[in-house]
Symmetry: C2
Subunit: 281 residues, 2 copies
């Protein structure tokens, strides 16, 4: 496995592979790789002959008051995770390699970016769409792998690929959790031991919601109340949002009578964590 830092290097390697007829996978990441990322890479390696992992903390998807500077970075550790999971090449560019100072072009979506995480992160998903478009153009893979953990991102990328005719298949992969149920996240390292314990409330509250759905509850207002009541039992937790939306359009719905996305964002201390599940009602 090799690590390259320039667009030319990764492009040339991928061109050689394509000429040789290899199927190619892309796993776009911001590094700080954990078992969730490893599961994407492993699956990509099972389903494709060559796997490229991009590691790039994309500045334009962070808001001015967000954690761009403190976002955890450790390329040496990431290389070990990639190699262990079966990656063939890491593309780890600097920001100056990816963005000109006078960048003009961007890719965005409308309604899909308006709610959920997009409501308080107004330029976040344009930043995601732009960098993912760039990566798709730099690394013309057959398939790209994204985690269901970022459910809104996954829905947006799928729609972007459809709308702009990118010739790539998007594979969504299940959330990977710690043994106690906390969804794996690069931001979990921000948590103190006490906050780490409090963070279990995300999965606990979603579990309550899933139980209510299994028992036949279909009112999304009531389901959201169930989640809210559960979260409020945790004094360290502060709710950002609790949403139940159409799993494809991300439109708010009153009754859960089709595939829905139940998504929550919660602050534990200063750390914002998200979790979700899809329910095929």
């Amino acid at each position: 496995m090799n690590t390259v830092k320039t667009i030319n290097e990764v492009r040339n390697q991928v061109k050689v592979w394509k000429k040789e007829g290899y199927s190619i996978a892309l796993v776009p990441t911001m590094g700080s790789l954990h078992a969730g990322h490893a599961s994407l890479i492993s699956r990509a390696a099972k389903e494709n002959e060559k796997v490229v992992v991009s590691i790039f903390v994309n500045p334009i998807q962070f808001g001015p008051s967000e954690d761009l500077d403190s976002y955890p970075r450790d390329l040496n550790k990431d290389e070990i995770v990639c190699e262990g999971a079966g990656a063939d090449l890491i593309f780890a560019p600097k920001a100056t390699e990816m963005y000109y100072k006078d960048i003009e072009a961007s890719v965005s979506v409308k309604e899909l970016a308006a709610g959920l995480c997009g409501a308080k992160r107004p330029n976040h998903f344009a930043g995601v769409c732009t960098v993912v478009s760039k990566l798709f153009n730099i690394i013309p893979a057959d398939k790209a792998y994204f985690g269901q953990k970022d459910a809104q991102q996954l829905a947006i990328i799928k729609r972007m690929v459809r709308d702009l005719n990118f010739d790539i298949e998007i594979i969504g992969c299940p959330i990977i959790r710690e043994k106690d149920g906390l969804a794996k996240s690069s931001r979990n390292v921000y948590l103190s031991p006490e906050e780490r314990q409090a963070a279990l409330i995300l999965n606990k509250s979603l579990t309550k919601c899933r139980e209510a759905l299994s028992n036949g509850e279909r009112s999304t207002n009531l389901l959201k109340e169930i989640i809210k009541a559960q979260i409020q039992t945790e004094t360290l937790a502060r709710i950002d949002y609790i949403e139940i939306v159409d799993a494809l359009s991300l439109d708010a719905i009153d009754f859960a009578n089709k595939p829905i996305l139940v998504a929550i964002a919660i602050y534990i201390g200063k750390t914002r964590l998200i979790d979700n599940f899809i329910y095929e009602a």
Copy 2:
């Protein structure tokens, strides 16, 4: 030469050609092909082994009060022009093939689309960037050919390709003119005989400006006054804009001391015509 109407058909043909190692050119057009388009196709055929011409009157680049419905369409005539100029394949999709009703994703540029034609056509260049991105993704050509006649469009496409890392070379081709100097345009068919004569004022006024530049004039205000005075001699002409800008950034400038774009848009009756030249000051 063959004409196909679906994304799958054109994509499959281009994939076969790429596998066989052919170099591929794309000439994106809105049809109603004239000698200007033919010059793009001929050059593409000289420089590449296979030439795809797309013919698509792109609805999302027209404003609500613009000429989408009346825009001239004649596929049979266009096929003759394409074949004569050396095209190998026409991609002529319907609007429903290109756009889902619930389209969410778009591509846009910021400052480059703010002035010139973009000032009064606020969504025009986002429509252009979006459809050209789609065409680049559907037809992964080595080179794409655009006319210098649409100078702002050419500058924007070049920047979009740079910023989003499309793996394609953009070739700008010179304006093709009638014998009397009028720039070839699909919209010239709108002109009555009297208007057709009046339309010569576009090239005439630009020629005056070029003469002044050759004589050493560098004040863009004075140069614009020279164009304006000339246009005002034509009673059927109404000025939309007269601009002199940096040829790359399209920023307004006071002194013509680097490569500049001199661009004008003029109504002759109800028909809006554009013309321009680049001057390497």
